[in-house]
C-alpha cells in the first residue's frame, strides 16, 4: 500500500494497471461495499482501473436487489455510477456465473465475460491486484 501511495505522489503521469477483485457476496460482510468505495476513490488518481467479479462476487452485480429484509443499504445501483467515474472495465468469470445459474441479463451493469484462462492472463498483465 505504501508503494502505491509513493508512486501516486512522486510519479506524475505514471499510469499503472490496478485490478480490484471481488470474490464475496454483497451482504453479510463489509468487503463488497468497502471494495466498491475504494474503487470510487481510486478513480481520482487517473489510473487504469478494472474490476473483476468471481466466485460469490458475481452476486454483487445482481439486478433487482432488495435489502429491506436485512435492513442494510442496497448499494447495487452504485455499480451503475462507475461509468461516470470513468471505470468502464468490468469483468466477470464465466464459470462463476454458470455455477450460480446467472447470465449477463441478470446483471445491473454491462460486463465482459471471460473464461478462467482469459481471466488469468488479464490478471498477469496487472501492476497491482487487490482482492476482497
Amino acid at each position: 500500500m505504501s508503494d502505491m501511495m509513493d508512486d501516486m505522489e512522486g510519479g506524475e503521469g505514471v499510469v499503472k494497471k490496478f485490478m480490484f477483485v471481488n470474490r464475496k457476496a454483497p451482504h453479510g460482510t463489509i468487503y463488497a461495499l468497502e471494495g466498491l468505495e475504494v474503487v470510487l476513490v481510486s478513480a481520482a488518481f487517473d489510473q487504469d482501473v478494472s474490476m473483476v467479479f468471481v466466485d460469490d462476487g458475481v452476486y454483487e452485480l445482481i439486478k433487482g436487489m432488495n435489502t429491506k429484509g436485512i435492513e442494510v443499504k442496497d448499494f447495487s445501483k452504485t455499480y451503475r455510477a462507475l461509468d461516470g467515474y470513468d471505470i468502464e472495465k468490468l469483468y466477470v468469470e464465466q464459470s462463476s456465473m454458470d455455477a450460480r445459474g446467472l447470465t449477463e441479463a441478470d446483471l445491473i451493469v454491462d460486463v465482459t465475460v471471460l473464461d478462467s484462462a482469459e481471466m488469468a492472463s488479464l490478471m498477469a498483465e496487472q501492476d497491482v491486484v487487490i482482492s476482497y
Binding site: L40, V41, A43, A44, F75, K77, T78, A81, G84
Partner: protein, 111 residues
C-alpha cells in the same frame, strides 16, 4: 448524535452537521443547512441541490466533484457543468456544501 430543530421538527445530524437520515430532508432543513454554510439559496443553488438528490436516488452515492461537474454538464449544459460556476454558488466546495444542503452523506471519492 446532535439534534437540530427547524420549523417545529427535530432533525438528527452527525458531528459535521450532515443530516443523518436522508428521508428526513425537506426545504426547511435545507434552508437551515444552507444558513449554517452561509450560502444564500437562489434558483441556481436549488437546481444543483435537486440535481444531487436525483443523482443520489439513482446511484445511492454522493458524486465526487469531478463526476458531479461532468454529470451536470451533460444534463444542464456546459455553462453550468464547470468548476467556476459551481464554486461561485458553493465557495467551500460544491461537494461539501451542496451535498450537505441536499441532505446527502459526504461524497465518496472526494479527497
Amino acid at each position: 448524535m446532535p439534534m437540530v430543530e427547524v420549523a417545529g421538527k427535530s432533525f438528527e445530524v452527525d458531528e459535521e452537521g450532515y443530516l443523518t437520515n436522508l428521508a428526513d430532508w425537506n426545504q426547511d432543513i435545507a434552508g437551515y443547512l444552507a444558513q449554517e454554510e452561509k450560502v444564500e439559496m437562489t434558483d441556481s443553488h436549488w437546481e444543483v441541490v435537486n440535481f444531487l438528490r436525483e443523482y443520489y436516488e439513482e446511484y445511492q452515492i454522493a458524486p465526487a466533484v469531478r463526476v458531479l461537474t461532468k454529470a451536470i454538464s451533460k444534463k444542464l449544459g456546459a455553462e453550468k457543468g464547470n468548476n467556476k460556476y459551481l464554486y461561485e454558488l458553493f465557495p467551500y466546495g460544491p461537494a461539501k456544501q451542496a451535498c450537505k444542503i441536499a441532505g446527502l452523506p459526504k461524497p465518496t471519492g472526494c479527497i
